[in-house]
């Protein structure tokens, strides 16, 4: 199960010196990744970094074992404008390679689907993987879309402006009547340059960038960032803070999963669950607001702990509202499973097989719905999750029903967890001050957000400042899963499939 021995072993939320990350030559680097993935590891992160020496680009990779809680890191140096693509042998890295190609003008030779990711200029002036002019800003959505030719085939283009108030993204369907052959998704409209803005930090703005990486995953991303800072500063947040972080993370999951189930019901026109879950999502958000004053948990998680404490009366109130909300959710969601008209829409719609899921490295509820058992809370536990375990919820059909049902299972597990934690809240303080960050260090931080695996990788320089900060939102892994789910489906089922994944545009575009 473990990856090749020449990689550095890492742990979630534990810093290592940068010099301990082995610098491999290309063949070693390549076989390390291929062997690791063949042994069952997932490519958790793969990104480029440009040290200030002439034209060299470093490529870092982080592999995650399935069991045992170990991560493996390595890097390689690429000189010139091309490197041989790993995607044909290891599809998991397809989007990572496209990102590297776009950001550094490095062309992965042999990549079967080499297209821009966010339509940004290459950071290496004068080099562009597509040979575009490097003086102008690339236009978003301008690329060669995949086309199916034929008299009866037609193309449907949706977005970036949609009929509902949602984020912008462009979708192209190659259809034969109502039947979809292929869906291509082109994003990048929400790109705001967060990763580059984090370089030179941390500063006052850093935490706010983190809380808004994906607005609905405020707690998840903020926790991942705080774990990075705490690892680099060698600081340990107090036990009470760890518990409150866990409670907030699970409340975030409860709110979003409930909202998703309601939205799924709305997409098939099933009124009762749709309207009740919409309200209940608000109830869970209000519980987060009881903790910190913000419905999305802004301002709660801070490096060194949490900025707000929950006193006795507040805990009592939370427990009481949790109980009412859960009994309402139970009856509202129960209607879904009991209605044959709903089940006939959910079942067998948007199937993703376990093979495709493993090949693409899907994460979160979407992967667990295919039967993959990955859950960071279980595999790479940190904080409260090391002491209090949450069973992993899986299904095996990989369709919309499975994705909905996994959410329902997770709602129940999360509610139990929150109840248990609030009932035996540890005493003590909630916030310590992390000291200075360690110089020349490398750290990987993983959190199971409600959408799945959130990965933050940070590197510091000799001045103890962040020199590269890489954020991988779960959506980054999963968008391709949505495209695969739509193959050979009805185009009218797209909204339902889309909602069953409910991916973030801004988390992907950063």
């Amino acid at each position: 199960m473990s990856a090749a021995p020449q990689l550095a072993t890492l742990r979630n939320g534990v810093a290592r010196a940068r010099r301990e990350i082995p610098d491999l030559d290309w063949p070693q680097f390549r076989s390390a990744i291929l062997d690791g993935v063949a042994g069952g590891a997932y490519v958790t992160a793969m990104f480029g970094h440009m040290p200030n020496v002439d034209d060299v680009v470093e490529i870092y990779v982080v592999l995650a074992d399935r069991e045992g809680g170990q991560l493996h890191g390595a890097k390689t140096r690429v000189c010139g404008d091309v490197f041989p693509s790993l995607t044909p042998e290891c599809p998991q890295v397809h989007l990572f390679e496209r990102e590297i190609a776009e950001q550094f003008g490095l062309r992965p030779e042999g990549h079967p689907w080499l297209k821009p990711v966010r339509f940004v200029k290459s950071q290496r002036a004068g080099h562009d993987a597509w040979g575009r002019s490097t003086s102008e800003q690339p236009l978003i959505g301008v690329m060669n879309f995949y086309r199916v030719e034929g008299e009866e085939v037609h193309e449907v283009a949706v977005g970036p402006i949609h009929a509902g108030v949602i984020e912008p993204g462009h979708f192209r369907f190659q259809c034969h009547g109502e039947h979809v052959f292929h869906l291509e998704i082109s994003l990048g409209y929400q790109h705001r340059g967060v990763e580059r803005a984090l370089v030179g930090g941390p500063d006052k703005r850093t935490i706010h960038y983190m809380e808004t990486l994906a607005g609905d995953t405020t707690i998840g991303h903020a926790t991942a960032y705080c774990q990075v800072v705490e690892a680099l500063a060698g600081c340990k947040p107090p036990a009470r803070a760890q518990v409150l972080r866990g409670v907030a993370l699970e409340l975030e999951r409860l709110a979003n999963h409930t909202g998703d189930l309601g939205a799924l019901a709305g997409d098939v026109g099933f009124l009762p669950t749709s309207s009740y879950c919409g309200r209940l999502r608000g109830d869970f958000l209000n519980m987060t607001a009881r903790l910190c004053g913000s419905r999305f948990g802004r301002g709660l998680v801070r490096p060194g702990g949490v900025a707000f404490d929950a006193d006795g009366t507040r805990t009592e109130e939370l427990l009481k509202s949790l109980q009412t909300a859960m009994s309402d959710v139970t009856s509202a969601v129960g209607l879904l499973w009991d209605s044959s008209s709903v089940m006939s829409r959910f079942e067998d719609t948007g199937k993703v097989s376990l093979e495709v899921c493993e090949e693409l490295g899907l994460v979160g509820p979407a992967a667990r719905a295919c039967g993959a058992e990955g859950d960071i809370r279980n595999d790479f536990p940190l904080g409260i999750y090391r002491f209090s375990h949450i069973p992993v919820s899986t299904a095996n059909t990989g369709d919309v029903f499975a994705r909905a049902y996994v959410r329902w299972l997770e709602i129940q597990r999360s509610a139990d967890f929150v109840r248990e934690q609030l009932q035996m809240l540890a005493g003590g303080t909630t916030l310590t001050t992390p000291g200075e960050l360690a110089a020349d260090s490398f750290v990987v931080s993983l959190v199971e957000g409600w959408r799945g695996k959130i990965c933050h990788v940070a590197m510091t320089d000799e001045r103890r400042r962040i020199t590269r900060y890489k954020v991988i939102d779960p959506s980054f892994h999963n968008w391709m899963g949505l495209a695969m789910a739509l193959r050979n489906q009805q185009i009218s089922d797209f909204p339902l499939c889309n909602k069953s994944f409910n991916l973030s545009y801004c988390g992907h575009d950063l």
Partner: protein, 302 residues
């Protein structure tokens, strides 16, 4: 004469109220207050005050769509008897005109949608036309049962004649026809479980996607025309299901209005307790509707 005036007033004035009743019923099931009962009237008043934006790629067909849609629905309303009051216009064979007035309206709505050249609207038009092809035989089989039962070929003759004693003679046939017409009513008026009038998801829409490019008064005419269509088809169905007569012509008007409101509530309940069918299953249900009516004929001929 006064009854003709009442007929015209009801056809013109009552339809948007049905939408309000459906909305209120759904809100009740969802545990919400819901929009006001008269919201559809407010919407229409708002839309008719607005200006229109027309795409430069469209032609007169696009502008004609909503007008033809509304006018055909109103004309159809002149052919259908409301309650036990005869229709203002009635002649032998008017049921053919009735069915094809709707077909004409649909032809123009679909043409207007295709005129925009948008992929969505083409998709919506294709769906609408496919489904109506299947809804039409169901309607005609239903008419056949009624014609056979009454020996008349006009809507007024058909619906006035055999009721309420028809229920004693051919109750089974009428139940089948009523069920079939209810399915046709839901399909033709884009209600759940066949279509979702409230969805904002352009890829799943049938009727709504065809009218995405209309605005202002055109959109108002489409909404109004759709409610008139619901009203007219509802009147047809209610006459079969609830052929009550009190003896007093004015009380009968009251009974008719009450019946229509009850029908709107039933539609609201159906929409509240069911999810939409998968689009590929809709034709199956329409074929089922045809078969129901066809069995109605078989039962009569036995």
């Amino acid at each position: 004469m006064s009854h003709i005036i009442v007929h015209i007033v009801l056809i013109l004035g009552l339809p948007p109220l049905l939408l309000g009743v459906i909305g209120k019923t759904k809100a009740l099931f969802a545990g919400r207050v819901g929009p006001p009962l008269f919201q559809a009237y407010y919407d229409l008043a708002k839309l008719f005050r607005k200006g229109s934006v027309f795409s430069t790629t469209t032609t007169w067909v696009f502008r004609a769509g909503p007008i033809v849609g509304l006018v055909t629905a109103l004309l159809a309303g002149m052919l259908v008897p409301l309650g036990n009051h005869s229709a203002p216009v009635s002649f032998s064979g008017d049921l053919i005109l009735f069915a094809y007035l709707f077909a004409l309206g649909r032809f123009f709505t679909a043409s207007a949608a295709l005129d925009t050249g948008s992929a969505f609207e083409g998709m919506g038009a294709a769906r609408e036309v496919t489904f109506s092809c299947l809804a039409e035989p169901a309607l005609f089989f239903g008419f056949l049962v009624l014609a056979k039962l009454s020996g008349s070929l006009s809507l007024t003759g058909m619906l006035d004649g055999p009721f309420p004693k028809g229920w004693g003679v051919a109750g089974a046939s009428l139940v089948l026809v009523a069920a079939s017409l209810f399915i046709v009513l839901l399909v033709e008026n884009s209600r759940i479980p066949f279509d979702d009038p409230n969805t904002h998801l352009e890829l799943t829409m049938i009727h709504e996607v065809m009218v995405l490019d209309h605005s202002g008064p055109s959109l108002g005419m489409i909404l109004y025309g759709a409610s008139v269509k619901l009203f007219v088809m509802g009147a047809l169905l209610m006459r079969i299901v609830a052929p009550f007569e009190s003896g007093n012509a004015w009380v009968d008007w009251g009974l008719f209005v009450a019946g229509m409101l009850a029908l709107a509530m039933v539609i609201g309940v159906v929409e509240s307790v069911m999810a939409r069918f998968r689009l590929v299953f809709v034709p199956t249900f329409l074929v089922a509707a045809c078969l129901l009516s066809a069995f109605g004929i078989v039962l009569l001929l036995r």
